[in-house]
């Protein structure tokens, strides 16, 4: 109980002469009234002020007074009774109790100094006598002097932001040395959802928080690449086609893919992408990818229904909340972060034939001996001899390295911040010049941001302005074009026929082999420039303790321009007439959006046991997107790459234009209650409206409930448990990322016209009843931290049932449509994630820690209730893919016809029918699930060591139990076709294919030129381990040279990503754009 003294000052301002107390004559006749009331009456007759403490004086005591023409002294004696005295000072009567006058306690004075574990003195530490308000702060040298009355069991409390609060018992010592430890846990304990911040301990949701520094230690590419290493729920599907292309967006999901992505959206949105919230506002994936990692303060991954519920209809895929560094008041401070990255193409998975092998392979495949007519056969023999002469003269070109380079990327980020308590600011500039590993490809990002904060008493205003300029450039020739060139061609542009490496005539036809070096040498343009800005304004008002009103509004605009110029000399145009050679395509995109919200939150602690927080929020959002494009063709020369030199538009080519407007609105209410911080409950309800859905289904409700039990807060829990929490959450978040044609709409026919003027034709039939896709999400989890934070475990088991899905299904064309979008089918995802950390060595004295970590996930998913409705769509997948949308399968199931291998007698493939019998004929109807690309367990093993400022980290990704359709086997070993000499192939095509009866081979007859079918023979186990991240960092502090250089801190970090990969499957990775190994050094300095 605090010593709160409530002072009542009555009749504050009054002018009166100083008069002796005897002057007053008082008449009072009161019976059984409150003491206070009686004093009031005296005050009324004397015009005196009274001053007393209602702790010392019982103002409610009932008194009876009777006096006539009495003195003030007498009247007060009657009112107050014995035990009180009074004095008149000026015009104020001060009432005091007469007895209980304690002797003045003896004062003691303690001096001391506070330092951190590294020995730096800590200024500004609060030193408080426990149980009192008596306290001081440490000075700039960390020293303090505190005096207090001598008492039994006096305890001094030392507290400082980011440090563990330390208690020191006073036992008569005069000089105290205190060392404060950094409290890493405390910093982590706040959960940021983008809508509210809350202590992690009192939240029931499944959330993990990462600091910007942690993420930067993993790698410097972008925040998402680092997150995938740290969080087993956050996954990036490797893009085998585009590898490390800096201009391709990663394919991301949190806890699995719940939607079927067969809907080709006009704007190409991926329905399985999580929601991205940057500083409280929704942004797109590209913004997050381009966000400078040096600006990131923290990233929160919201995974389950309780944590994402505030985002209702957008939350089914999880939410990624990114907070940037906010300015802090203080003197002007500069920070600089610089990163230099070197990317080297990783070609270790390529296994191409050399010139000798390739020619031998062509011969063995019968390419030169296939002709029946002697003359033709002679032609081919001549060709063989010509090539043989080349090979024998030593030509063996390594084409893989063509078009590639070592990419150098440098990133800079500079920030200035400062200001006083009322108004503070930060200005930042960042630049990233990213060179891709393919020549001419790259991505440059330039950004600027200004953040202003104004705070006065109960009001806080902040404004965030961000500007970005991005320039991207793509490589002129896909990597696959180089990779497939025959090694027996010279690496040169032949002056006789620059377009071709070789021209030969045989059997009445002329064959030409294009030279990728030639196409790459032409003038070319394929890039995008985009500019965007975003302004976020926020106002917050706290009229009374616990109540907060806040409003936000954000305006953003992005404009992009893509230009593709192809030279008229490009081999693509050789067949065209002169006036149609060369092309120029220009497309522009624009997006304007605004959104805002208004929220009220109230939090109160009742009787120190019941903690309640309630938040109500209303939000609106609108985004308009525009796109247009045109093509111009026919360029007389390739020197000039702008449309002014084009001859015309292509026949029937008309400019295109599209526009979409998406609007949504929601109202949300969330409440959190905890009892003694032991039993927690979170409940959220949200109502969403969106223009994406049918007119009859504009609105929907989502809800969630989360429960948790903090066992470590219970009395029976021992000291060994730092955190022991079990939690569960259930909810029905939705997935509303796309606009569907839900309205009956028309478009004017501009191709045909008649005398009657305009004619409108059906554009979309509209499905007014299209309903929202929602996912029932149930999570059970536990957070455990034991033995003084030596061991930590986080476990989550989740089930996500999406029912019904939104699917585009094929329909008989006699209905007038090819397909329509409807609610159908069900997808069930079940998964387990684990995150384990052990601090093996934790030696504070030597400042040494060594810890190990392991995370992993296991996940299964299953489609049901689709029936045959997607058969038509599956049909379109048959020739190109092994994925199908069928009941019992999943997005990762490999559907194909089982293979019994290659018949050693004939070299043909034997397929297994559904009834188990063998056949040489491939029948699509025999397709079954032959594998699953999802690993049984995939995750990351890590270790980190910290010793006096030096930190070493290593993370290895492992995965086992998954399968993969080995497209290299299919395409580069068997699906070669009759023109065996067209492309270079995998070495195994020559060495491992069946050659003669009796050969036990995994691959078909070498002379079989048919395309082959995607049978289970190509499905292989994909167990792998890869060197995802290695890093070494050192943080300088306290050194004299730092101060001389005017630096307050300096740290250096070096990291390597994707260093190696060992796998049970040998497959070419990055077919159009190779993967890269990354090495980077970064420097952070503050002045």
């Amino acid at each position: 109980m605090k010593l709160t003294v409530l002072l009542i000052l009555l009749g504050l301002l009054r002018v009166s002469a100083t008069i002796n107390a005897q002057v007053y004559r008082i008449n009072l006749e009161l019976d059984d009234v409150a003491c206070e009331k009686a004093i009031e009456s005296v005050k009324g007759q004397t015009n005196l002020d009274f001053f007393f403490s209602n702790q010392e004086l019982n103002v409610n005591r009932k008194v009876s007074v009777s006096c006539r023409n009495a003195s003030l002294e007498e009247a007060l004696r009657q009112i107050l009774g014995e035990g009180y005295s009074f004095r008149i000072i000026d015009n104020t009567v001060v009432i005091r109790p007469v007895k209980n006058q304690l002797p003045q306690p003896k004062q003691v004075t303690v001096k001391g100094v506070v330092k951190d574990v590294k020995g730096n003195s800590l200024p500004g530490v609060t030193v408080l006598l426990k149980g009192t308000a008596l306290g001081v702060s440490t000075d700039s040298d960390g020293k303090f002097t505190v005096s207090f009355p001598e008492m039994k069991d006096a305890i001094l409390l030392f507290s400082f932001v980011g440090m563990k609060t330390t208690e020191v018992k006073y036992t008569g010592q005069t000089d105290i040395k205190v060392v404060l430890e950094e409290d890493a846990a405390e910093m982590e304990e706040v959960v940021v959802t983008g809508i509210f911040e809350r202590k992690a301990e009192s939240f029931t949701g499944s959330v993990t928080t990462y600091k910007g520094e942690e993420l930067k230690k993993i790698g410097t590419q972008n925040v998402l690449q680092s997150l995938k290493t740290l969080d087993p729920s956050f996954r990036i599907t490797p893009n085998n086609q585009f590898g490390s292309d800096p201009n391709k967006l990663p394919d991301i999901n949190i806890r699995g893919k719940s939607s079927i992505s067969n809907i080709e959206s006009e704007w190409g949105d991926d329905p399985n992408r999580p929601l991205f919230i940057l500083d409280g506002f929704e942004v797109d994936l590209q913004t997050i990818v381009d966000l400078s990692m040096d600006r990131i303060a923290s990233v929160n991954v919201l995974k389950d229904a309780a944590s994402t519920a505030m985002y209702g209809s957008r939350a089914a895929n999880g939410v990624l909340v990114v907070e940037t560094v906010k300015p802090k008041p203080g003197k002007l401070q500069f920070t600089y972060n610089g990163t230099l990255t070197v990317d080297a193409p990783d070609l270790s998975d390529y296994n191409m034939m050399n010139a000798v092998e390739k020619l031998a392979f062509e011969k063995a495949a019968g390419f030169y001996d296939r002709q029946k007519i002697y003359e033709d056969w002679r032609n081919y023999q001549d060709l063989y001899n010509k090539r043989l002469a080349l090979v024998q003269s030593g030509v063996d070109s390594y084409w893989l390295s063509e078009g590639l380079r070592t990419g150098f990327t440098h990133k800079h980020n500079i920030r200035a911040m400062g200001g006083n308590e009322a108004m503070y600011y930060s200005f930042g500039l960042n630049y990233s010049g990213n060179e891709g590993v393919m020549k001419q490809s790259g991505r440059d990002v330039l950004g600027a941001n200004i953040n202003l904060q104004y705070r006065i008493e109960k009001l806080q205003i902040s404004n965030d302005f961000t500007f970005d300029y991005t320039e991207s450039e793509n490589a002129p020739v896909a990597f696959s074009e180089y990779a497939r060139v025959n090694p027996y061609y010279r690496k040169e542009i032949n002056p006789d026929h620059p377009e071709y490496l070789e021209i030969y005539s045989a059997a009445g036809y002329t064959y030409r082999r294009s030279n990728p070096l030639y196409n790459a040498s032409l003038n070319y343009k394929n890039g995008t420039k985009s500019t965007g800005f975003r302004n976020n304004f926020r106002i917050e008002y706290r009229p009374v303790v616990g109540l907060r009103l806040s409003g936000k509004i954000s305006i953003g605009k992005t404009d992009g321009k893509t230009e593709v110029f192809k030279s008229p000399y490009h081999t693509d145009f050789l067949e065209k007439v002169q006036t149609e050679r060369g092309s120029y395509t220009k497309s522009t995109t624009g997006s304007t959006s605004y959104n805002g919200d208004f929220s009220v939150s109230y939090g109160k602690v009742f009787r120190e046991t019941h903690n309640l927080t309630v938040i109500g929020r209303w939000e609106f959002k609108s985004q308009k997107r525009l796109g247009d494009s045109f093509i111009a063709i026919g360029f007389p020369t390739d020197r000039i790459d702008n449309p002014a030199f084009a001859i015309s538009y292509p026949e029937d080519g008309k400019p295109s234009y599209s526009e979409s407007l998406g609007r949504s609105m929601n109202m949300m209410m969330t409440a959190n209650y905890s009892y003694k911080e032991r039993y927690l409950i979170d409940a959220t309800i949200r109502r969403d409206g969106s223009s994406n859905f049918g007119a009859n289904k504009l609105w929907t409700n989502t809800w969630s409930v989360g429960l948790a039990w903090n066992i470590h807060k219970e009395n029976f829990a021992g000291d060994w448990a730092d955190v022991l929490k079990i939690r569960t959450a259930i909810g029905n978040p939705g997935n509303n990322g796309q606009a569907y044609d839900t309205y009956l709409s028309y478009a004017y026919n501009t191709t045909y016209q008649n005398v009657f003027g305009l004619g409108a034709q059906l554009n979309s039939f509209g499905n007014r009843d299209l309903d929202w896709q929602k996912t029932r999400d149930i999570t059970v989890g536990a957070d455990v931290v034991l033995f003084n934070r030596r061991l930590s475990v986080t476990l989550d088991y989740y089930t996500k049932i999406t029912d019904p899905l939104i699917i585009q299904i094929g329909v008989a064309p006699s209905t007038g449509k090819n397909d329509f979008i409807t609610n159908l089918g069900r997808n069930t995802i079940k998964g387990l994630t684990i995150d384990l950390g052990v601090r093996v060595i934790d030696n504070r004295e030597k400042d040494l820690t060594w810890s190990l970590s392991l995370n992993g996930y296991h996940e299964t998913s299953r489609y049901s209730r689709i029936g045959n409705k997607l058969d038509k769509f599956n049909e379109t997948l048959v020739s190109s893919s092994v994925y199908r949308y069928r009941d019992g399968g999943s997005s990762t199931s490999i559907w194909t016809v089982p293979s019994a291998g290659i018949d050693p007698m004939s070299g043909k493939e034997i397929y297994i029918r559904k009834d188990g019998s063998y056949t040489f004929t491939f029948n699509q109807n025999d397709e079954v699930i032959c594998g699953n690309t999802a690993a049984d367990l995939e995750g990351v093993i890590g270790t980190n060591l910290y010793w006096k400022g030096l930190s070493v980290n290593a993370y290895l990704r492992y995965g086992f139990g998954g399968d993969l359709f080995n497209s290299t086997l299919f395409e580069r070993i068997e699906k070669i076709g009759r023109y065996t000499d067209q492309y270079n192939q995998d070495k195994r095509a020559y060495y491992d294919r069946w050659k003669q009866p009796g050969d036990r081979s995994k691959f078909r007859d070498i002379s079989d030129v048919s395309d082959g079918r995607m049978s289970s023979r190509y499905v292989q186990k994909n167990n792998f381990i890869s060197g995802e991240s290695f890093s070494v960092g050192y943080r300088f502090f306290g050194q004299d040279w730092l101060k001389k250089a005017g630096l307050s801190s300096l740290s250096v970090n070096a990291s390597m990503n994707e260093l190696f990969r060992c796998s049970t499957i040998k497959i070419e990775r990055g077919t159009d754009y190779p993967f890269a190994r990354t090495f980077s050094i970064s420097l952070n300095a503050s002045f």
Binding site: S658, R663, S664, L698, Y743, A760, L762, S814, T815, G816
Partner: protein, 490 residues
Amino acid sequence: MKRFIYIIVLLFFTGLISSCNDWLNQTPHDKIPGDELYATESGTEEVLNGLYLGLAERSLYGGELTVGMIEALAEHYAVPANHRYKDLVDYAYGTNASKAYFSSVWNGMYRQIANCNVFLEQIAVHQGNYNPENYKLFRGEALALRTFLHFDLYRLFAPAYTEENKTQRAIPYYDKETDTPTPYLTGEEIMNRLLEDADEAIALLDKDPVLNLDTLSFQADGNKAVSWQHRHFRFNVYAVQALKARMYLHTGDKPAAYAIASALLNGQNPAGGTNNFNTAFPSIMRMPSKYRDVLCFSEVIFGMHDINRESMYRRYFSLDLATESILLAGEKWRTEKYGSNMLDMRYRGFGEAADKSETETMLAVLKYQKKSLVASDPYTFRNELVPLIRKGELYLIAAEASPSDTEKEHWLEALVINRGGYQLGDVTGDLDAYIDLEYNRELYAEGQYFYYLKRNGVTSLMKQDATTKNVSAGYFVLPVPDAENDNRVD
């Protein structure tokens, strides 16, 4: 003051919440919401006109079903080995090239039917927005169009209407917009439905402006907008009657076909009332001689107006085209079918195109070639017209359905006289064979001869080099696309 602020805030939120649905109800600006169009009569006219413009697709009546595929199948063009129609005329209906033609016709026709059905459903909902007379015209025209489309689908994809075939599965029939395919009906069921639909359309079009107006030029009629003029570009009531005659003849109901065709040609409206058929669609011989060309434009009862008809010519007939896509006639065939009467205006529909073939003389098809017209020409739309139902066909229907040879001869003579160069005694001999000749002459490159052949069970066709091609009945039944049968349960 505080209370005032509360009230303002409260009003603000009440206003916001109540206008939420309006705010959310948004459609992109590059499309027009249906509700917006149907809200006004002029918007609805735009949708109706869209139904006509939809016919002009190259895969439908702007190409394959009038001058392209359908005429090639009827052996009206010389199709060399590398021609894109080669598989079609060789009856190789299973190849991907052939299937692509069939499915684009099937899908396109049914898409137009769906357009009609949505239109019919929407105008019923928005009926209050229209003048009741115009509502009848809207509904009548759309019904007629839907009938026309179904009938051609039936004639293309179902076996010919015979006693044994009429109970066979034919095509699906749609009278409403749906996501679920409707079952296949038999030929008999289809034809009954279509005749009912035609009758309903005729009843709705009982005040069709064509009954009072000349179709050939705009007339000052204060009450009628452009939409209700130029009725020969719209499904007018006479066109529905003619369609009905066409349908009756197809089902073998010759008396019914004869009744309608003869009534019309005699100037009468078969539904009774006005008798202005021959003034609405005057014989070409009544027009000044400079208008008398192969198109006989004044006799078109229902045609498409496509101001870009020139592109159709360039795509199918232009002499610039490569051999794999140009459509040419053979001189030998013309000699057989047209004789040598150069005075017959239809004879002038061909020109010499010597360099396209070395072995025999090939003829360019000039029917749709653009004529150079002066600006003051009142009938410039001749260059933009694609006939779909013409009076000439009515003469042939009447002749074919005639109860006796006398009438047959009468109607044939009446037709030939109207084409100039008639010499007494031309119409003699085998009158049925003469009808065949007239189909070739009158309806060349208009897509009707194929149905004539199918209806009459013809098994031998004359090719452009005057040789004969024998075909089976299956040749006249286009296969339904796989996508249709793969996506339905029946």
